[in-house]
């Protein structure tokens, strides 16, 4: 059976699918969050060196990981948008950017509040946090460019180019920041010196990361549905859809 890969590339057929997947992921995210928080606060033991403050790891690691991961996915959709000239791919990239930026912001915030009790300072210019800060700037750049360009299709393509240029640069930036950091290793802060992972701690982190993943998918799909309607409103299929929803 040959699958028509492009069946869902049209916004009209993707819209209902996005609704279904989004709802499923939202439920999964909620369940995983409950399970993860239970593991984080009830099951996981107190850390010997960091006391209770280490529990921040259960939201710091998921947000930091998602910030990076969402950028890669956004770059992937951008590559598809440029390669196949499909507007839905560009809409997906557009939908992911705000969530990625918020994840980066939360990663920086939680990292600062973890750093203070653990290593004495809110901001230590370590490689990973500095790279996450630059990642936040990259996200904000894509969002700002989207807002600055009036024509939707030109904005699609320009943001796609920018996202890809950023994606190519992220490893270079990370490498250069890490190098800079090791050269200036005055303090002995090291965010890799996380508490030795008890199995329950690791499990809690993984569950929360999965929760964050499902959450990101769900919220991005809600946003893409809004974007689809904003951009395609007035076309025949939206008319039919709105009529169907009105009578339903």
């Amino acid at each position: 059976m040959t699958m028509n890969w492009f069946k869902y590339a049209s916004p009209s057929s993707f819209y209902p699918l996005a609704g279904r997947i989004g709802a499923a992921c939202a439920v999964a995210a909620a369940a995983l969050t409950v399970a993860g928080l239970y593991l984080a606060f009830v099951v996981a033991p107190t850390d010997a060196t960091q006391g209770e403050s280490y529990r921040i790891i259960f939201i710091h690691v998921p947000t930091a990981w998602m910030a990076m991961f969402i950028y890669l996915v956004m770059a992937g959709w951008s590559a598809l948008a440029l390669g196949f000239n499909t507007r839905l791919s560009a809409m997906m990239a557009q939908a992911l950017a705000p969530t990625g930026a918020l994840m980066a912001l939360l990663a920086l915030w939680t990292g600062a509040f973890w750093g203070r009790p653990a290593w004495g300072t809110y901001w230590a210019w370590d490689a990973r946090m500095t790279s996450t800060l630059i990642l936040l700037f990259l996200y904000l750049g894509v969002i700002a460019l989207r807002h600055a360009i009036a024509d939707a299709r030109r904005a699609d393509r320009a943001c796609a180019v920018l996202a890809l240029v950023g994606a190519i640069n992220v490893p270079i930036i990370y490498f250069s920041v890490r190098w800079w950091n090791t050269l200036h290793q005055g303090s002995t802060v090291s965010l890799t010196s996380a508490p030795k992972m008890a199995a329950t701690m690791l499990a809690g982190m993984l569950v929360m990361t999965l929760a964050a993943w499902c959450y990101a998918i769900a919220i991005a799909l809600v946003r893409v549905r809004a974007i689809i309607l904003e951009r395609e409103g007035g076309s025949a299929w939206t008319r039919e859809l709105m009529a169907a929803e009105a009578t339903a």
Partner: protein, 240 residues
């Protein structure tokens, strides 16, 4: 603003190689740059001014200045590059020349490479040559100042190359020449800044700057190959 009516006319379509296109764009933009000397002088003055501000803001104490010097001189170079970037495409875009360039038989990436090179010759090169002089203000010794010049010579072309992509993406946007361009391009500048300022720091600390300079050279090679194509794609997007 008088359009550059005296710019060399388009050559006959017989020549369509990348090299010919590069040379043509380089010559044209250099000629235009020389005719608008005022603009160039302003950018160099901006660089000197910014470099002068920092000691005023802190203290003219030699060890402090020597520690600040590499970073300040590099960041000022980044800002000066940002200031001059809109100039790269703006006037050609406004009078329709850019569209003609895109339609010409020359590969657009080659033409853009020529424009970027001309831009660097008129902005990055003067900054790189001037920096060692300003290094005296920051109590940097000779090896540090020569390393600074070498690092800037390698790094400023990368700034022009990466900046061209940003300038092309923000072509014709309201306020796009200013803060938006800076927001897009400054994160991409970070590796150049780190390697470039790091080179001078290394020499100050008695180590060799060779690893930093080789990394800068690598950045330059990658940017020289990739950025013109990225900028060409962005220009075509802006021209639609």
């Amino acid at each position: 603003m008088i359009p550059d009516a005296a710019a060399p006319p388009f050559p006959a379509p017989a020549a369509s190689g990348a090299g010919a296109g590069f040379a043509w764009a380089l010559r044209r933009d250099l000629r235009i740059g020389v005719r608008t000397k005022g603009e160039l002088g302003v950018q160099v003055l901006f660089y000197v001014l910014v470099a002068t501000l920092f000691p005023l803001a802190t203290a003219p104490e030699r060890t402090l200045l020597a520690a600040l010097g590499p970073g300040v001189l590099w960041v000022a170079a980044l800002l000066a590059s940002l200031l001059s970037l809109p100039r790269l495409f703006a006037s050609d875009f406004a009078d329709g020349t850019l569209e003609q360039l895109a339609l010409s038989p020359y590969p657009l990436a080659a033409l853009i490479s020529g424009k970027i090179t001309a831009h660097w010759v008129t902005t990055g090169l003067p900054v790189a040559l001037l920096a060692p002089l300003l290094g005296l203000q920051y109590a940097l010794d000779d090896p540090a100042r020569y390393t600074l010049a070498a690092a800037l010579l390698l790094g400023t072309p990368v700034l022009s190359l990466l900046g061209a992509v940003g300038a092309a993406l923000t072509l014709g946007l309201r306020g796009g020449g200013g803060s938006l361009l800076a927001l897009l391009v400054l994160p991409l500048y970070v590796p150049v800044l780190i390697f470039g300022a790091g080179a001078v720091e290394a020499v100050r600390g008695g180590l060799s700057a060779a690893p930093h300079l080789s990394l800068l050279a690598a950045c330059l090679l990658v940017a020289a190959v990739g950025a013109p194509f990225g900028a060409a794609a962005a220009v075509r997007i802006a021209l639609e």
